[in-house]
């Protein structure tokens, strides 16, 4: 960034919730100073070429495992934030299944401090229960006071219906959102993949779609009962989409996300026995993929969230049933969506930027229209650039991407975070 703190994004097409227009964007002191053509630009302004590109509000990921504290061999806040910035993100919600879990204000502040040096904003999600053990409510008011807006025991669902009811009720009083990893643990019972044709053939224990849908059903009922805001994480089945559509039509205050891998890949991938394709919820059927895509197009699903879940190579070389579930996502999500889903750019950006920003309670900083005075959180996307995913060149500390070797069309050219060009010409600047 130049000494004046000024940068101009030149020659692109601005796309935000208000529509699209050809315009340059001048950024000064962390905010958008002007949007238009033929802008008067201060001397010593950094020029970022955006010809042929889409200039959009920075992306917001509702669901990322940054692994710090506790699992720094997999990822750190810094490395994840670099991957995020390279993927066009200006904010990520950090999941609380760290070690220790984010169930006290001290851990919230620790992750927030780590986030101060990050290449994007790190919004910390808090655990619903102490130690994510599903037995006793975490000090939610204390966590909310520290800045937590989203609560989840992600990695596991809250199994006890009464406890979940109390969490929703208590959360309603705090004005926060409860996010559920929908999985009935007893019915899923030690599964490593989706239960169906492939699990039967491969001899791997599977979890039926109903293990997810039972909890979706229960939590929609509890959201209706309590009036609390509920967000459903990484929905993966056609049945879940249908349940959410019906609940929304009935006015239940629910939002939902889907992960990019569930929108493209199916359980047939597991035939390779490569644990890189092990993820929870598991990859499901082609019919589920189609239903999720329809849910995105029709507005039942509000956001695409990465569920970025780094694991070290040695963990992903264990036997399939012993390997931990999870896939990288931050650096590839936007490109996967633009390559694989037949959605207009505007709709894709709604699902990756302004809608998740609203769910995360970050709409004052992220996802808003590109207009003078707005925080300068922007990503510049070259929709025609093709690249081949090479795990070794990703910024994450881990390499467990399911997109290895895949050619993607669309690449993030620049990312500006609070006015700072943290990615320039596809490279992180720090």
């Amino acid at each position: 960034m130049s000494a004046t703190g000024a940068a101009v994004v030149r020659g692109g097409t601005v796309v935000d919730a208000t529509g699209r227009r050809r315009a340059d964007v001048l950024v000064v002191d962390g905010r958008v100073a002007a949007v238009g053509t033929g802008l008067d630009v201060p001397t010593a302004t950094t020029v970022l070429d955006a010809s042929g590109c889409v200039v959009a509000p920075g992306l917001v990921d509702l669901h990322a495992h940054l692994r710090e504290p506790g699992f720094e061999e997999s990822e750190t806040v810094e490395t994840a934030s670099r991957a995020a910035a390279l993927g066009g993100y200006c904010a990520v919600v950090a999941m609380p299944n760290t070690e220790p879990a984010v169930d006290s204000a001290a851990v919230v502040r620790h992750v927030q401090q780590l986030g101060e040096r990050a290449l994007c904003q790190v919004a910390v999600a808090g655990a619903i229960t102490v130690g994510r053990a599903g037995r006793q409510l975490a000090p939610m008011a204390e966590l909310a006071e520290a800045g937590v807006r989203l609560f989840t025991d992600d990695g596991a669902g809250v199994q006890d219906a009464l406890l979940m009811r109390r969490a929703l009720e208590y959360g309603r009083g705090l004005g926060v959102t409860l996010a559920q990893h929908c999985e009935d643990a007893a019915l899923a019972g030690g599964a490593s993949m989706h239960e169906g044709e492939w699990s039967s053939r491969l001899g791997i224990p599977g979890a039926p779609a109903e293990a997810e849908e039972l909890m979706v059903m229960r939590d929609l009922a509890l959201a209706r009962l309590t009036g609390a805001r509920l967000h459903l994480l990484h929905l993966s089945t056609a049945g879940s989409v249908e349940l959410v559509a019906r609940a929304k039509a009935a006015g239940v205050p629910v939002t939902a996300e889907a992960a990019p891998h569930h929108l493209v890949l199916t359980h047939a991938e597991v035939a390779s026995y490569d644990p890189v394709f092990k993820v929870n919820p598991p990859l499901r059927t082609a019919a589920d993929v189609a239903a999720l895509r329809a849910g995105l197009a029709g507005g039942t699903i509000d956001a695409v969230a990465t569920d970025h879940a780094p694991h070290p190579q040695e963990a992903k070389e264990l036997p399939f049933d012993q390997a931990p579930p999870g896939m990288l996502g931050l650096q590839t999500c936007l490109a996967v969506c633009l390559t694989e889903l037949d959605l207009p750019v505007e709709r894709t950006l709604a699902l990756l930027s302004w809608q998740p920003a609203a769910i995360a309670g970050l709409a004052d900083q992220h996802g808003g229209p590109v207009a003078p005075g707005a925080p300068a959180n922007l990503c510049v996307i070259d929709p025609a650039a093709t690249w081949v995913v090479d795990p070794a060149t990703l910024a994450s500390r881990s390499t467990n991407t399911p997109w290895r070797g895949r050619t993607l069309t669309a690449r993030v050219r620049h990312t500006l975070f609070r006015g700072e060009p943290v990615v320039v010409d596809g490279r992180a600047t720090r």
Partner: protein, 305 residues
């Protein structure tokens, strides 16, 4: 056989299975000699890498390798560095680096032989992976049936018991149907795979009507840990519904075969006296196992060396 590994029966196809059975014929002859040994794999090294207890399969492979004059190394997990936390890949690559020609892999997790095959230069033979496959068992079963009945074409084979958790059943279905047999799976729904889409089989939850028309009653081993909990109410109820009792064995047509992959739970899936009756070919299965594994090793390692 042109493959470098034997991971699944599906890798072989009908022609590949036929080829193994043809070569097995000649090794049965070798096994009957006073000195049952040929120099075909002299100088070759075969390692048995068993991460799960198995006496009979390991011994069978080792006997097969020795009768072909291969050098045999045995990696027993209990005495290995796996117990010191060494990861699977390091273990396998270390052994591969010693210059071995074939790794015979048994593991409690489905898919491990596929992972191993991706890491090593040696030929990998699947000696049983989780609830997935056990190809040499299926091959020796085909050989045994053919020995008694001439061909599998048109035979009705009932596979009875815990199909859900059985690698023997999965490989058996592939091999038996490839050779033209009609397979019926007989089990309570809790012991069947959740989906049978794409399986060329019929299903029955009742044993008696299937036995009356069966040419082969293939009884699966019922693991004791499956007989409690939510899969089955009790061992007694399983035996009453699906055990091959003397009464049920009498329903079988003349000339029908009784088979079992071993080890037997006498009195559970098969009555002691049924295991010993003339139609029972359980000991032939064990004897043929060595010859079939000789054929597999010979075909994979090419005999040139």
């Amino acid at each position: 056989m042109t493959a470098t590994h034997l991971l699944s029966v599906a890798d072989l196809g009908t022609d590949g299975i036929e080829e193994v059975l043809r070569v097995t014929d000649s090794f049965v002859e070798v096994s009957a000699r006073a000195i049952p040994k040929v120099p075909a794999l002299r100088g070759r090294t075969v390692v048995s890498l068993f991460f799960e207890d198995s006496t009979r399969t390991r011994l069978s492979f080792e006997a097969a390798a020795r009768r072909l004059s291969a050098d045999v190394m045995n990696f027993a997990v209990s005495s290995s560095s796996v117990n010191k936390g060494e990861c699977l890949r390091d273990t396998v690559e270390t052994i591969d680096a010693m210059g071995v020609d074939a790794l015979v892999v048994r593991h409690g997790s489905s898919g491990v032989p596929w992972q191993v095959a991706g890491w090593v230069g040696a030929s990998v033979i699947n000696a049983g992976d989780g609830a997935h496959e056990h190809p040499t068992q299926a091959l020796l079963d085909c050989f045994t049936i053919r020995q008694r009945r001439g061909s599998l074409e048109g035979l009705r084979i009932a596979i009875v018991g815990d199909v859900k958790h059985s690698r023997v059943a999965r490989s058996g279905v592939l091999a038996f149907t490839a050779l033209g047999a009609e397979v019926t799976l007989v089990a309570p729904p809790t012991l069947l795979p959740p989906s049978l889409e794409g399986w060329p089989v019929t299903v029955s939850h009742e044993l008696d009507p299937v036995l009356v028309k069966a040419d082969v009653a293939y009884m699966l081993r019922m693991q004791s840990e499956r007989m409690t909990g939510s899969l089955l109410p009790s061992r007694r109820e399983y035996t009453a519904g699906f055990g091959l009792t003397r009464r049920r064995a009498a329903l079988l047509p003349d000339g029908a075969l009784v088979m079992h992959p071993g080890p037997l739970n006498r009195g559970v899936e098969i009555a002691a006296e049924v295991a010993g009756m003339p139609g029972s070919v359980i000991t032939s299965q064990v004897a043929n196992g060595v010859a079939v594994r000789m054929a597999v090793l010979y075909l994979l390692l090419g005999g040139a060396g």
